[in-house]
């Protein structure tokens, strides 16, 4: 009886942590104009909840309780630096009483996201800052996902928070003149989180697991708060399309490329949701790169499911995307689409035009080059050499094993 009550209290505190962290932090940070201080106060409020809820029962409005507890700490200038004893001795004074007025908490997460996308914040710190402030992820977890030392990540985050405080960046939705740039940065930051998670797919270890779920969650929050933004919808659609194929990308720990995937393993409900989001985005008549990328995914899904030949529309979309954003990734994607339409030789010619400095350690370039050379089958030595580069540049053990297997086949 007692144990289940305690369990209930612990679960309630954890649940509140997952669902409310960003809302509470956004609210407090905005009121105090100090993200770091708000984080410390909120961390203490959660610790306090874990101490008191299991014994005393969960308050009627857990969010408001946490908010009041954190606010009291901020008012008293309490900091996480205090020892646990000091925190404990302050509990009686700082714990909100059930009779105290519990305020309604306005959702300021969107405002917080816009702060994370502020041009004054170092581009490399935007995604980590968003993951920490809106989702409450630890610096260690973020550091591993971004392949950065936890020390460096901690410093980067502290610097970003100090910058918000020192430069007085307001936690609010920017005016029309800044809105476009800030929104673009917010979308990029969310997509970067997804990309990191995508790379580390197949890792079941929770602490090292990627951030794909978190990124999708952030995009959902963004779409919920700004339903009229087509690119936010496009980004959500793109990530849902990719996510819907997750189970099929690995079978028994082996890597399976798109063309060989068992479509029965796809999450079609998720893919349908992606289609619906993309359609809604299209209706808003604000084209953009994320909608283009989602459209490419949509066409891929269609052609895999129906067997229809959609190589030409795929190429057109890649061409539009590369024009809009000529990144090395998009240009390699275009070369792959070109090869599908015009054959491996044409694809290889496009690859040859890319600057060597950008392709030297870019794994997808070498993987595509190896595949096309193998299809062509005229230069064994160049094929073997491209495979070696592709194998040597991957971080993924399953992809490495797959490519080693492929490299020993005579023709593709």
């Amino acid at each position: 009886m007692d144990g289940s009550l305690q369990e209930h209290g612990r679960r309630a505190a954890e649940n509140a942590a997952r669902t409310s962290y960003g809302r509470l932090l956004a609210y407090l940070a905005r009121a105090w104009r100090d993200v770091a201080a708000a984080e410390d106060a909120l961390a203490e409020a959660f610790a306090q909840a874990l101490d008191t809820w299991p014994a005393k029962g969960v308050p009627a409005n857990p969010d408001a309780w946490l908010m009041v507890a954190a606010r009291n700490r901020l008012r008293n200038g309490a900091r996480a630096r205090k020892t646990r004893e000091q925190i404990a001795s302050g509990l009686v004074v700082l714990a909100p009483t059930e009779t105290e007025d519990m305020p309604a908490i306005a959702d300021k997460r969107l405002e917080l996201m816009f702060v994370c996308g502020h041009p004054a914040i170092d581009a490399a710190a935007r995604t980590p800052l968003m993951l920490q402030t809106v989702l409450g992820l630890t610096a260690e977890r973020i550091a591993s996902s971004f392949l950065v030392s936890p020390d460096t990540m901690g410093r980067r985050l502290s610097r970003a928070k100090a910058r918000i405080k020192d430069t007085g960046i307001a936690i609010e939705v920017p005016g029309q003149d800044e809105l476009g740039e800030r929104m673009g940065n917010v979308l990029e930051a969310i997509y970067a989180a997804y990309g990191q998670g995508w790379d580390s797919t197949g890792n079941d270890d929770q602490t090292r697991k990627g951030l794909t779920e978190e990124a999708i969650w952030l995009a959902r929050v963004l779409v919920e708060l700004r339903p009229e933004d087509a690119e936010a919808l496009g980004l959500l659609a793109l990530m849902l399309f990719c996510e819907s194929r997750r189970a099929a990308r690995r079978v028994d720990g082996r890597y399976v490329p798109l063309a060989e995937q068992d479509t029965a393993l796809w999450d079609l409900q998720m893919a349908r949701e992606a289609v619906e989001k993309l359609r809604k985005a299209g209706g808003l008549k604000q084209p953009g790169r994320f909608q283009l990328e989602a459209a490419i995914q949509s066409v891929l899904v269609q052609s895999c499911l129906t067997g229809a030949d959609l190589r030409l529309p795929t190429w057109t979309l890649h061409e539009l995307l590369a024009q809009r954003a000529p990144t090395i990734g998009n240009l390699v994607g275009l070369a792959a689409a070109t090869a599908e339409v015009h054959g491996p030789e044409t694809g290889l010619r496009e690859l040859a035009q890319l600057p060597e400095a950008a392709t030297m350690d870019y794994q997808p370039f070498w993987a595509l080059k190896a595949r096309l050379l193998q299809q062509l089958g005229t230069d064994q030595q160049a094929t073997a050499s491209a495979f070696r580069r592709a194998i040597g540049l991957t971080e993924d053990g399953a992809v490495r094993a797959y490519l080693i297997g492929k490299s020993t086949q005579q023709t593709g």
Binding site: L147, V148, S149, T152, M360, D361, W366, S385, F387, R388, R389, A390, I391, G392, L393, T394, E395, G397, R400, A401, I404, S407
Partner: protein, 121 residues
């Protein structure tokens, strides 16, 4: 910045791979490919692969007495198997090369900055 990437492998696990006719090929393919991707970038200053820790001999002087032992200094599951020293702009770049190393998949890679003696006056 110069960083040393130290490759740690689980010797028992690796020996089982190297001594297995079917698995030895992919093991060496992965290493050759990694080095084949690393060297053309021109960032490698030096590097070596080492013979297994069973070939090691450790020496120390205890109270003036020589103590020579067969085997590595620390008997741990994962042992140093090789290293490279690379010249990269920052730690982040060194870490991304560490992550690509086959040893990162089944062992570990330690990244350490090389002491820059030119700054010591």
């Amino acid at each position: 910045m110069q960083h040393m990437l130290m490759f740690y492998e689980n010797e028992a696990q690796v020996a089982a791979q190297r001594d297995n006719a079917e698995r030895a090929g992919p093991y060496w393919d992965a290493w050759n490919a990694y080095m084949g991707a690393l060297y053309p970038t021109g960032i490698v200053l030096r590097g070596d692969a080492l013979l297994p820790p069973s070939a090691a001999t450790s020496v120390r002087l205890e109270g003036g007495n020589r103590l020579v032992q067969d085997g590595p200094v620390a008997v741990t599951k994962e042992q140093l198997a090789g290293y490279v020293v690379i010249e990269v702009p920052d730690l982040d770049a060194a870490l991304s090369w560490a992550a690509r190393c086959p040893a990162a998949t089944y062992g570990a890679v330690e990244v350490r900055p090389v002491l820059d003696l030119s700054n010591q006056g």
